[in-house]
């Protein structure tokens, strides 16, 4: 991966940390709790119409992804096996517990020994959250959850989903030291008019210094407008730090899939005191090519341009110098969930230019933990 590990990212956030002792944090938590209480009231009034899952009883699932990612960065090989299991445990008609963990290691050549040898396996609980579907418009989440800043961390991070295997340079902005928050969140999506939907989330994260589930103390939100007819979503994120420099971070995102083309366009911009930047990505399925359709409909070409700028607080900067990275790649889907990816990237920075080659084989698995027939 192009970005530092979560542990490395957390090192950028050193310094004095204010303790979670002031009344302000509790007041924010109370506001979220109040919103949750209010949100539950209309649920009772809407009665049976709001039952989330109709007559089908959901079954617990073990799902997730696994991958083997090979990167040559400046000629240095890096073999990176990763497995990311996700457990989904629906409880009753309104609750779901979900947790995702990551087990990964790096295989490297050791001087004096032949072959590649693995280092210690990094284990991390990415999130463990309890969701309560309060009503059709609001879900309340408590626990450790992926910080909803921008779109990549929450939606596009798993290796089987992303079109290019490297992380965007700006990914660490706004998502906390371990990509996750510890606290509470309200979120939801609803049809605001016949032409567009609104989705929103507001969250509060408390300070946690327990590695690897550390998190910063901040509050923030994200909102987006989705126009189904145009398949266009635009939105913005905001976050206010409640420790250290108490700085703000904000960002914008957009996703567009032109209805007439098998094309995905995504872009994101983020800014904080640690740095700023953007990425823009396009991915096109070759399904419109009239010959060898069985092969071409499984093939996707992707390209991404991104830039990172060192922030005003250079001591906390994610990277030491400004950087520009262009990547292009090819994905081939054998079956749903099983794909092979290859991409090439050219990195331009004051610290030196270089090539990044990546190849990956990723697989998404779904294992029911119970009977799957209709009940």
């Amino acid at each position: 991966m192009a970005n530092p590990t979560p542990q490395a990212r957390s090192q950028h956030r050193g310094g004095e940390v204010r303790r979670f002792g002031s009344a302000r944090g509790w007041q924010i938590a109370c506001w979220i709790a109040l919103a949750a209480v209010f949100s539950a009231c209309p649920a009772n009034q809407l009665n049976a119409q709001t039952q989330p899952d109709e007559e089908v009883t959901p079954v617990p699932l073990l799902t997730g992804s696994t991958g083997f990612i090979t990167t040559f960065n400046g000629g240095q090989p890096d073999f990176h096996p990763i497995i990311t299991p996700l457990v989904l445990l629906p409880i009753g008609r309104r609750w779901v517990f979900e947790t995702r963990a990551t087990f990964e290691t790096d295989l490297a050549q050791v001087p004096g020994r032949s072959g590649y040898h693995g280092g210690p396996v990094q284990k991390e609980v990415e999130y463990a959250q309890l969701d309560f579907i309060a009503n059709p418009y609001m879900t309340v989440t408590v626990g450790r959850f992926l910080t909803p800043f921008g779109i990549f961390n929450e939606r596009l991070y798993p290796v089987w989903i992303r079109n290019l295997q490297t992380d965007p340079l700006i990914l660490p902005i706004g998502i906390g030291p371990s990509n996750a928050s510890t606290g509470a969140m309200i979120r939801g999506g609803f049809k605001a008019s016949p032409k567009f939907n609104i989705n929103y989330t507001a969250y509060f994260s408390a300070l946690s210094t327990v590695t690897p589930v550390n998190s910063d103390r901040f509050a923030g939100g994200r909102a987006g407008i989705f126009v189904p007819a145009a398949r266009l979503e635009i939105g913005g994120s905001f976050q206010h730090g409640l420790q250290d420099t108490r700085s703000n971070a904000f960002g914008f995102h957009a996703i567009w899939q032109p209805p007439a083309l098998p094309l995905d366009l995504r872009t994101e911009y983020a800014r904080s005191v640690t740095g700023s930047g953007y990425w823009a990505e396009a991915a096109y399925r070759l399904s419109q090519i009239p010959f060898h359709q069985n092969e071409f409909r499984r093939t996707q070409v992707a390209a991404r341009m991104q830039q990172y700028f060192v922030g005003e607080n250079a001591g906390l900067a994610l990277r030491p110098v400004n950087e520009k990275l262009f990547e292009c790649g090819l994905n081939y889907y054998f079956i749903d969930g099983l794909k092979v990816s290859s991409n090439y990237g050219r990195q331009f920075s004051a610290a030196g230019n270089g090539n990044i080659w990546t190849m990956a084989l990723t697989y998404r698995f779904v294992i029911p933990l119970g009977r799957t027939g209709r009940e």
Binding site: T63, D336, P368, G373
Partner: protein
């Protein structure tokens, strides 16, 4: 002090949005229940809108309505799920019910979309 009020304001706006949407949804439900409120799914195909829950769970739709529901379900499936990942295959009903509940939270799919997609993916 100012930040506290800002956060309170943010939450109040979101609560207001949620309640306005609830009110609008109720109004739509009432009008659609009183008369037919079909929406064009594709061409001249029609599907029930916000009141489809009742249709989906309580009564057996006829063939044309069934087809319209399926078309609308597929459209919403591709529109919503395709934003982030490739279209998965159909899973067994109970698996899909879990997955859709997860995605409802993760991708903030609307209640209406969730029901259409679940129906499409489990038929």
């Amino acid at each position: 002090m100012g930040r506290r009020y800002s956060l309170a304001f943010l939450l109040a706006v979101m609560a207001g949005l949620a309640f306005s949407a609830i009110a609008q949804e109720r109004a739509n439900s009432t009008s659609a229940t009183a008369g037919a409120a079909p929406a064009a799914a594709q061409g001249n195909a029609t599907v029930p809108t916000a009141t489809h829950r009742t249709t989906v769970t309580k009564s057996a739709p006829d063939a044309a309505e069934e087809r319209a529901l399926r078309v609308e379900g597929e459209k919403r499936f591709r529109t919503n799920c395709g934003r982030c990942h490739q279209a998965p295959p159909k899973f067994p009903s109970r698996v899909m019910a879990t997955a859709i509940r997860h995605m409802r939270v993760r991708a903030m799919i609307t209640d209406e979309d969730m029901r259409f997609i679940l129906r499409y993916m489990t038929q």
